[in-house]
């Protein structure tokens, strides 16, 4: 085997450059979206309305949780990742290592993490500290927070969920209590609390129809707020977060058109319609 000569090296570079440019201009029409279960109903609505308006577009939406969506973005099995939390540095590092980009973060909606209670529960408001102690297992009986003398039953999300991570990092600030029952999706959490008079759960505001909502106070002295468009906009509701779309690269072609539409007044109107809160 002969050593490569300079001409061969230059020729190799030229072929590679042509290949790179050719691949870059391949127009992608089919878009896959995966990730946050909190966002799945919104993402499905966006896709449904957009495909009606653009019959050539093909958008496939699935849930699975923010962690699952981010993994899918890194391993290349989805084009857009929906996440109800920010990407972690370790996840960005994986993206760097595999695709040599830092990813593109697009805040596309806002959400207030809502505390669900059974309608018969006497407790109507809780402070962040009480919520932390309840989900960490330090407060175990409703009478400790002004409720009936009954054991508190906890319902939460699986650890692949962005809501699980956000709630843990920003509210619980410790490990969840071992008896916190993990459920696959916010709808399942709402259903479980509906059936359990001593239950408490957390999840996105869009899933709160037909269940008692617990108001949340920053501390003892603060007023209690429910997650509404107004309290979210004014940053009054204490457990407010952005919902994100993550991409590997800056969007082009069909993907850019879709994302521009999501951020347009039409796309943002659907955000409100589905029970979330617009970014602007």
């Amino acid at each position: 085997m002969k050593s490569l000569k300079t001409k061969k090296i230059i020729a190799s570079f030229a072929i590679i450059a042509i290949a790179i440019v050719s691949f870059a201009f391949i127009n992608q029409e089919r878009i896959t979206v995966k990730g946050s279960d909190t966002m799945v109903i919104l993402a499905q609505k966006w896709a449904e309305v957009y495909m009606k308006k653009n019959p050539n577009a093909s958008i496939q939406v699935t849930g699975g949780g923010s962690g699952t969506g981010i993994s899918a973005l890194i391993n290349g099995s989805t084009d857009i990742c929906n996440a109800s939390r920010k990407m972690k540095q370790t996840e960005i590092d994986k993206l760097k290592a595999r695709y040599n980009t830092l990813g593109v973060e697009i805040p596309c909606a806002k959400d207030g993490i809502t505390i669900y209670l059974h309608p018969t529960n006497k407790v109507k408001e809780l402070t962040l500290k009480q919520l932390s102690d309840i989900f960490a297992g330090k407060i175990k009986n409703w009478k400790e927070v002004g409720g009936a003398n009954a054991e508190i039953r906890l319902y939460g999300r699986e650890n692949s969920s962005g809501t699980y991570v956000f709630f843990k990092d920003n509210v619980v600030k410790a490990d969840y209590a071992p008896n916190c029952q993990t459920l696959p999706g916010t709808a399942a959490v709402v259903n479980a609390v509906k059936k359990d008079v001593n239950g408490i759960g957390y999840g996105g505001a869009a899933y709160s129809a037909g269940i008692e909502i617990c108001k949340v106070k920053k501390d003892d002295k603060s007023p209690a707020y429910e997650a509404t468009a107004e309290t979210i906009k004014k940053n009054q509701y204490p457990i407010t977060r952005y919902l994100y779309m993550y991409l590997r690269n800056r969007p082009t072609g069909a993907m850019k058109a879709y994302i521009d539409w999501i951020l347009s007044p039409e796309g943002q109107n659907l955000v409100t319609e589905m029970g979330y809160f617009p970014v602007k």
Binding site: I16, A19, F23, N75, Y99, T101, L102, D175, N179, N249
Partner: protein
């Protein structure tokens, strides 16, 4: 007659009522039984969930690199082979939030070795301010703090690390501890570590009698000197376009002298040193990684390292000469250019350079002026082909079959620094090797001889 009918009717009603009562009792009993069963199942489910949650704390990952190599260097026999370059299985156990144990052996045939074995403790005490949950302590055997060292071989874009990194950090790992500060809201990372500092197999001279003992146990300490290492990195985000990470690291190490002299890299300067003194090996490095979203991902990465390295000498009283310690000034660097092509393909190019002795040029190797001026002290030590620099151009193309499988075609063009014409006629400008037929051949360092390498690698990762 009427009385008889009435009696039968009452009797029937009583019988029906008794039966209804019996059915109700039976239903209640069955309901109670079902409730007990459900409660039993609930308890079993909770126990199972508790057991399963423990299992989710254990994570296994790993990779296998199976490859074909073709070597142009005639000193390498056989000239081509199939091999398993790395066979890793990494077990991570998160005992509690912020406590992690990691164990990673390498199962490459014929060389089973323990690569990583460490525990990481994340701070939970600092709950406010800049350093909230920012501190972590790592103890055990783990990668030293350098970009290319810490960058996993399963992700690296060329088959092997740069020569300068392989020379300074053989085996990559060391035994010791590391403190890391990684503030949540600042893209800054500070690392400070302390290690045994003895890496790879080496020969240690145990005392002034010239007795030598081999220590091939990687990372086992044999002196009281500890090596200290520090690294700082900072990340800049350049909007949606990309980002720039910059960093620097410093290494302050020493080896225990086994002799009374230390020869410097010009082969003329000698410092007196006692047996047991510290022979310093200190160096500094600066690094950058630039990521840009230009028609897909592109990155440019590089690092420059320079300083003093050292190897130990020893006594040779039998012939009256002394083999001194050797302390060499060195410099080395590498630059990567990596471009993703679509989702499945990636091109990588790396140029790396390592000069183990910056005080000796190729043209000066073996010239008399650099021969020992004090033979009583330095014996016959002369500059040699070991002081020559090496440049390597590596080209690689990766095809990502899926998330788990990567196929790599890589070609490394290795070029040695040439010795000068003055070296001709002396003996050490050639490296000898034995041909398969038993004859002796030579790699002639007065030329750039063939030593390129082709690698075709299949990597399976999970």
């Amino acid at each position: 007659m009427k009385k008889i009918y009435l009696f039968i009717l009452v009797l029937s009603c009583l019988a029906i009522n008794a039966k209804a009562q019996s059915v109700e009792d039976s239903l209640k009993e069955q309901l109670s039984e079902i409730k007990d069963r459900v409660n039993g199942l609930d308890e079993r489910l909770l126990t199972s969930e508790s057991d399963l949650s423990k299992l989710t704390k254990i994570k296994f990952s790993g990779y296998i690199q199976s490859e074909f190599n073709y070597y142009e260097n005639k000193a390498t026999y056989p000239s081509n082979n199939f091999s398993l370059r790395r066979v890793r299985l990494k077990a991570t156990y998160e005992a509690a939030d912020g406590v992690k144990f990691v164990l990673q052996p390498d199962f490459a045939p014929g060389s089973l070795s323990l690569k990583d074995a460490y525990v990481v403790l994340n701070d939970h005490f600092v709950q406010n301010g800049l350093f909230k949950n920012a501190l972590s302590l790592t103890a055990g055997k783990f990668n030293r703090m350098n970009y290319e060292v810490e960058y996993s071989s399963s992700q690296r874009e060329v088959p092997e690390r740069s020569l300068v990194i392989r020379s300074l950090y053989p085996g990559e790992r060391a035994i010791g501890f590391k403190l890391e500060v990684n503030p949540q809201n600042i893209p800054l990372k500070l690392q400070l570590g302390m290690f045994n500092g003895n890496d790879g197999g080496f020969t240690q001279f145990s005392d002034t009698t010239g007795k030598s003992a081999s220590n091939t146990i990687e990372n086992k300490d044999y002196d009281s000197f500890k090596d200290i290492m520090a690294r700082a990195t900072y990340s800049f985000k350049l909007g949606d376009f990309g980002g720039l990470d910059i960093g620097a690291h410093a290494y302050f190490g020493s080896l225990k002298s086994s002799t009374n002299a230390t020869l410097h890299s010009d082969y003329a300067t000698i410092d007196s040193s006692k047996v047991g003194d510290a022979v310093k090996k200190n160096w500094f490095g600066a690094e950058f990684q630039f990521f840009a979203d230009v028609l897909g991902g592109l990155s440019l990465k590089g690092e420059y390292i320079a300083g003093k390295n050292a190897t130990l000498g020893g006594s040779k009283f039998a012939n009256g000469n002394l083999l001194p310690n050797f302390q060499n000034n060195f410099a080395g660097y590498y630059v990567y250019l990596i471009k993703n092509v679509g989702k499945k393909n990636q091109f990588a190019f790396r140029y790396d350079y390592y000069d183990p002795n910056t005080d000796i040029k190729g043209s000066d190797v073996t010239i008399t002026k650099y021969a020992g001026s004090n033979t009583a002290k330095i014996g016959s030590m002369k500059s040699s082909i070991a002081d020559l620099a090496t440049s390597t151009f590596t080209f690689a193309w990766h095809y990502y079959f899926d998330d788990n499988i990567r196929i790599t075609l890589a070609y490394a063009i290795v070029q040695n620094e040439k010795v000068g014409t003055n070296a001709a006629g002396v003996t050490n400008y050639k490296a000898s090797y034995t041909n398969p037929d038993g004859t002796i051949g030579y790699n002639d360092y007065s030329t750039i001889f063939k030593q390129n390498q082709l690698t075709i690698r299949l990597q399976a990762k999970f």
